[in-house]
Symmetry: C2
Subunit: 288 residues, 2 copies
């Protein structure tokens, strides 16, 4: 084994240690109660909401129990508004404490670190404590470049595979350069799209019970590192072997983003290529 | 003006047209009612929450109106649970329709497009309709590389400024290469940090009433394109001249990310540099 490949292996190992180490730090410094599992439906509570609640309470009192309230008892009204607001907030909290449905496992901390290093940043987990925020800055400052180098290396590996494929074809066939590149690009891109995009999307459709559009959209938003966080995989706390699902997600993300970087560099080269630029120039001259 | 710089200007103009065009598409295809302004406090509604609500209603009926309910009237209980759930959800909705507090302006659509193109993806705005999701995929597929080229060009511009500064210093002073680069890096990095990081963070502290740590954390999370979305600037719908604030955010993001890319490439070069690698090798040999 050469010095260079041995270094590459050390670099890869170093990255995984960095990831697990960051996960360990976050696992201990973050308050588990802040990181709650997602709920099927969210509502906002504010003053007007509470007013509605009070109206509701009054209606039930009137309609079900058939006892009218004094119409203008504003003090009682205010008190009820404030108390119901507090009670609801507290009941929500104690409930969450009660049923042990806290989502802050070690795999969640790993998930958080991975969303920092790849800059996906879904936001389902994000540092809440002050120290967590400070740590995020220093962790990312070193980790994001490391992750970037790793992704670039993997992407180079994919690109080299593509070039080898292209050269094999070129030696066999006629020497129409652009035609050859186009064919090779399709031959190379299609299996990659299937492996890193369509099969994962199908898997998410099955595992998460999403529509195929949602699963495709989620895959795209993840691999481009946009990470809106409107739909996120591997979040159901009652999922059997959630940690395995999350490790699968980590591996998919590393390979998939590298593949996306390969595609991006192809698109960038195409956009920057002299031939396309000249064509574009001609068109814009013809228009103006 | 040379051919190359004229092309660069066209490229920049093209990017802004692409951004505004995408904003126009999203502005029309998305349902404004889905994109609601952020609320100070969010709560989750589910079955157990509704159970709490019913208990609350019962307590108020008992304690305030002093009328006991039949203890085991489970049918009424169930009906109340279901109805209060529906009523609350509906009341929330009609409320949102009623007070015109919808956050979906044109500047919001621009904001959304910018979070796609830079891959920040806060998630405060994300496509909700099916067509919006499909459009996101095609819009990002072309737009993210374009934005990447633009950022790389701006970053090159910053890097060249740094190199010019470094060469000026080098010609004047002694030829200790690493010492010179280190000094130049600090001279270059400090003003950039102040302009793209500390001043924006101070501005956010002032405009958004955040702690300075939160503002710094937000700046870091934005410029690295992590974009957790736990705290987001320019979201208060009652802010005077919100659109101006958001345009300021767009300009800051474009320049700030380019600066971050410059720093990243320095860190990457340092991590990859032969000298550092050799040192690291020596250390790891000494340890093992
Ligand atoms: K992101
Ligand atoms: K994000």
């Amino acid at each position: 084994m050469g010095w260079k490949s041995s270094l590459a292996i050390k670099f890869h190992l170093g990255f995984w240690f960095y990831l697990v180490g960051g996960g360990a730090v976050y696992y201990y410094i973050e308050d588990p109660l802040y990181h709650l599992p997602p709920q099927p439906k969210t509502m906002t509570i504010n003053a007007t909401f509470c007013q509605h609640l009070v109206n509701l309470v009054e209606n039930y009192i009137r309609n079900i129990v058939n006892v009218p309230l004094e119409p203008n008892d504003s003090t009682v009204r205010k008190k009820v508004t404030r108390d119901s607001c507090n009670d609801l907030t507290n009941s929500g909290k104690s409930e969450e404490n009660g049923n042990h449905d806290v989502a802050w496992e070690f795999s969640s901390a790993l998930f958080l670190c991975m969303t920092i290093l790849t800059t996906i940043g879904y936001g389902c987990f994000s540092p809440n404590s002050s120290w967590g925020k400070v740590f995020c800055i220093f962790y990312g400052l070193i980790g994001i470049p490391i992750c970037g180098i790793l992704l670039a290396n993997t992407s180079d590996y994919f690109s080299n595979g593509f070039l080898r494929l292209y050269k094999q074809r070129q030696s066999k066939q006629q020497r129409d350069k652009w035609h050859g590149i186009f064919i090779a690009a399709i031959i190379f891109l299609l299996p990659g799209l299937v492996v890193f995009f369509f099969i994962p999307a199908a898997t998410f459709t099955y595992l998460e019970d999403w529509s195929y559009l949602d699963a495709t959209y989620f895959s795209f938003v993840t691999l481009t590192t946009i990470g809106f966080g409107d739909i996120i995989a591997a979040q159901e706390t009652n999922y059997p072997q959630l940690w395995l699902y999350r490790i699968g997600w980590i591996v998919w993300v590393m390979l998939g983003i590298a593949y996306w970087v390969t595609i991006i560099s192809f698109i960038t080269k195409a956009l920057r290529s002299k031939r396309l630029r000249e064509r574009w120039e001609k068109t814009s001259h013809a228009i103006s």
